[in-house]
Amino acid sequence: MENLLSSYLILCLALTVITAPFLSFLLSLIFKKVAPAIGILSISTSFISSVILFFTVWKKQTYHFAFNWINIGNTKIDIGILLNDLSVIMLMLVSCIALLMHFYSVEYIKTDKLKYRYFAYLSLFCFSMLSLVIADNLFTLYAFWELVGFTSYLLIGFWFTKEKAVRANKKAMIMNRIGDIGFLIGILIILSHFHTLDIDLLFGQSDLFSSSFIKNDAWVSPFGIMPSYWLTIAGYCFFTGAIAKSAQFPLHTWLPDAMQGPTAVSSLIHAATMVAAGVFLLLRIAPLFNDVVLITIAIIGLFTAFMAATIALTQNDIKKVLAFSTISQLGFMMLAVGIKDNSAAIFHLVVHAFLKCLLFLAAGMVIHQLHHLKEEKTLTFDEQNMQNMGGLRKLMPITAVVFLIAACALAGLPFTSGYLSKDAILVSVFEYADINGGLFWLFPLFISITSWLTTFYIFRVVYRVFFGDFRLPKIVSIPLASLNLHDPNKWMIIPSVILSVFCFGFFFAYNPFNLDSSWVYNGFNLQQHNEGLYPILVPLYINVMSFAIIGVTYLIYAKQNIKLNLETSWMYKLSYNQWYFDAFYDVFLIKIVLLKAKAFYWFDRNVIDGFIHFLSELTLSISKIAAWIDIHIIDGLVNGAAALVKQIGIWLRGMQSGKLQHYFIWMLMVVLSFMIYKIVI
């Protein structure tokens, strides 16, 4: 009895988690003045419920509630809630970061006229993301996946008067559509093969999926047989969806552009939560992937991580650096999924969410304060360009400290959370290469390089923004003293300080040097790491090198003792222009699409429209002829008959002269004619 009650309570709590933001979305649009308060209240409710759920479900029991929704023939689609370890940790992560972000946004968006709309969108996003996390079947997951994409579209284009923002949200939308097609096809393959989309049924305890097997090139499930390549295709389809959502090569170009949105949005959606949805999807359906798909995932993840890290080296826009860093770190997670170390992927997802969110918050604080300065003094400079910054640690000390903490975590230095999660992935990669051998040693090679590049680019940002001399006074030629630049107020400081706590390794493990003492990692760990040398050696050699790189970066960017003249080299250009992906897409895809569109436009205008116009002209002429016939012949006949009758009538009327003797004559004539007729016949 008690068990029943508690499961009922859990259902109520789970519904509260998702209903509160949705109500907030509706209420924010009605009560515009108090929209921030409504948003904060609702997301706090969600957060508290998530925490309770977390402590009820985590490592104890899986709850699955499903209600019949759609019946099509024998196929049933349920709507329901699946609460397992993965969902509850994501729930807590999303609601926690969203809560902090709401606080931060109060200050960040204070002066905007459409503030209420911002909070409404934010609530809608929280609703869809939280629902996505606890959706129990692929169909509802897909629906919320789309909704998440849509709210992302709304928020990227929040400043819709900016041409760039509008282009960026269009781009994000289109790029995500490509992935969504893949996702949908994958869903349909699963549906046709297993007659259900329920994640718990497919991959959970009853494990419908493992009851299917490959035999003689045929994929046999309890419901039917398919050629075995459909399993690979399904894996690729789902992976395509994840590629688009998590901004992996080759669909990654939307994420840097998405930085046109408000920084708080970039932080919440495009760094911490939404982009993790792709990884989340892969983790949800991980058993589906066969070896071919897994190796593809690993390669794409590795390539993306490496490529994005090299791009981040040379970007001058602070948010662009962070955007490419996000892409790179998502590549790490993909790689972890690809080498079947799902626990490391989840761990890194959680850790990265906190630290990247914090990096964006700190960057946002710098941008926010510079923007204020710009409006106050009516100056013209780019507040996101790092060339206008420098030496800010003296002016904005708290911002500098939290940014530095997050940067250390991103670089994976000891005592930080990044040390645990990143090295978890690195160790797994080394073990993976060790088992497979041969060309697989490229994985650890490149992932190590990427790891060092990460250290380099993030400390480049640290030194260029917070160390050295403040370059802005020289650029706009105003003395430093008159620039009143300081830390923002508590609305922004408090969330970032709270987040910086989560960037320490102690939060995730009792012993910040031992991966196996981390509760998140252990929560999902399926296979223990070997007691080999890798868990000791890999972090050591990565971190020794990282410290060296930090020193070199300090000399290059803070002290400027070493001058690098790489601006003209092809490597610099390749990196600065983001490997020419946008240019490539412009030339080879967009141009072609536009040309095609123009051709079709011409065809439409001249051939289709011409034909239609010809038809209309033809119809017009035919109807003119018909009208003439109608007027002159048909009407003529009718009118002629009428006229004839009229004439006859007039003529006959003339006989009725009213003169008595005329009638006599008529009578006489009639009688006579009868007589003559009788006589003649």
Binding site: S657, G658, K659, L660, Q661
Partner: protein, 101 residues
């Protein structure tokens, strides 16, 4: 013995004269007189043909009937003419044409 043809000739002549009078006169009384002439012509024919029926004398009987009917119809006709005169101060039937088409 007067032959039958003579009666018929006189009857025809009388009928024609009566018809002529009915068609041409401008006076309702004269038209009435023309009608009387035509009636009389028919009576003459009846009586003339009556010689072929010496047993029942149908011709004579019809003649008498026609005389009585003619007297009655003249009475009616005169009343109509008087009414006409009262309304139009005129007995020209061609003037009484208010019902023309």
């Amino acid at each position: 013995m007067i032959p039958l043809q003579h009666f018929l000739f006189i009857g025809a002549a009388l009928f024609s004269l009566g018809l002529f009078a009915v068609i041409t006169r401008k006076n309702a009384i004269q038209i009435l007189m023309g009608i009387e002439l035509m009636l009389n012509a028919s009576i003459l024919n009846m009586v003339a043909f009556g010689k072929y029926d010496k047993i029942d004398n149908t011709g004579q009987m019809f003649g008498l009937f026609i005389i009585v009917l003619a007297a009655a119809s003249v009475a009616v006709a005169l009343v109509i003419i008087m009414n006409l005169y009262k309304r139009t101060k005129n007995i020209d039937p061609n003037k009484a044409n208010s019902l023309n088409g």
